[in-house]
Amino acid sequence: MATFFGEVVVAPSRAGLDEEEEAREETPEDLEIRREIEKKRYRHRCSRGGQIDVLWTWKSGGCAEELLVCSRFIVAIGRNAAAFLSSFILDSVCWEVVGVVKLWNEWCRTSSTTNVLPTDSFCLFYRLISDPTVLLCQCSCYVAEDQQFQWLEKVFGSMQKKGLQVTILSTCPVADYKTQESTLTLASPFLKALKTKEFQDQVCCPLLEQPNIVRDLPAA
């Protein structure tokens, strides 16, 4: 597209990432940047390899294939949702840490320590001591696009999924909500839900109307 000053620039695609960027020949600088990022990501891979690793405290070396029996899995994604769990649900009496996700991307890095501050980026798993099949995940770190699928496979891959009910807690800015009226007049915060066909229980809030969508890790 031509700008006001007459120069031709590539207009950003509404899709976010126009495929043009992928198909275009990388400049030497792009190549260098990509190599450095890949090197950094490689350096932060833990011993088992891969960009993400999920370390479970209940898995000893011998039974690496043992699956965690899980009936309810609550995942809080993002700082707000993680803070909600910290404030209202988690405590050291009823819940124990059973796992941690170690990952690195250009936005944040998590470590394998389970002693975290609320301002850290972390991804921890807790288990209800009185009912060990209830699992909770607090993920305040950003999981990059190309890590989301891996996160999913590694976390859910460790679970026995029969009869499993998953609840995902997340937040979105009100300004992103698409509605007939202006978001200025909306009473916020408000809850919306998406559920699969298989979810038979009562949902505590209205369902998310089109054309609103959810993306990234909660969507994955």
Partner: protein, 251 residues
Amino acid sequence: LLQPAVSVGNVGQLAIDLVISTLDMTKVGYFYTDCLVPMVGNNPYATAEENSTELSINAEVYSLPSKKLVVLQIRSPFIKNKYRPFCETLLSWVKSSKCARVVLLSSSHAYQRDDEQLLGTPLRYLLTPDLEKAVGGRVQELNWKEMEKVAAYPGISDTDKVLHIPGGGITKLLFTESCSKGIQMAVLLKFCSEGDNIPDAFVLVNYLNEWLQLIKSEVSTSNNSTDPSSQWKIPSSWRLLFGNGLPPALF
């Protein structure tokens, strides 16, 4: 198999939305893939409260057995460096499911047109050699224009001519791979720019309809003109494409 390329203005995807919505196609499956950015929402083609709560994700397959039509809709961009694996997986699925032919709806940057392309129709087609044999004649009858090849090195006169589809996303890759794999593929594309691409989608889907006759195009006898836009059903999810309502306090 009818599918879009994620391309400039998302025209292919919008056109596919019109096809699925108008023909009231049934969802028959989805692609579980790590190549596309994840997204989820409620049914984008909902017509009533009852059918609005079915979840919808980024790559879903719809079918209409009466027309032997299968449609793939892609709803999010490719994750960096994942478009190649996606194309490979897609084409191997096309082969293994014995799909007869693939029609790809796409678009290309309007500003990259040369002087000749600026005149006349903004619609173009491409056919793989295998499909050329089967439908080349029909395409001639329709008076369609084939996508021109451009010089590999613009400015130098006697260089090879290559296919160049700027803004077309995976279009070129899918097309060239289909040529080499003997897959019957047609590409239908429109030159356009980013903006309100709904009219572009209508133009593209009518172009497709000239050939595939998915819906009957009616000619209004009273004023002797076609209004093709009215025969396609706009999905409910196209609401609010350009933002919410305005706060009254603004005025």
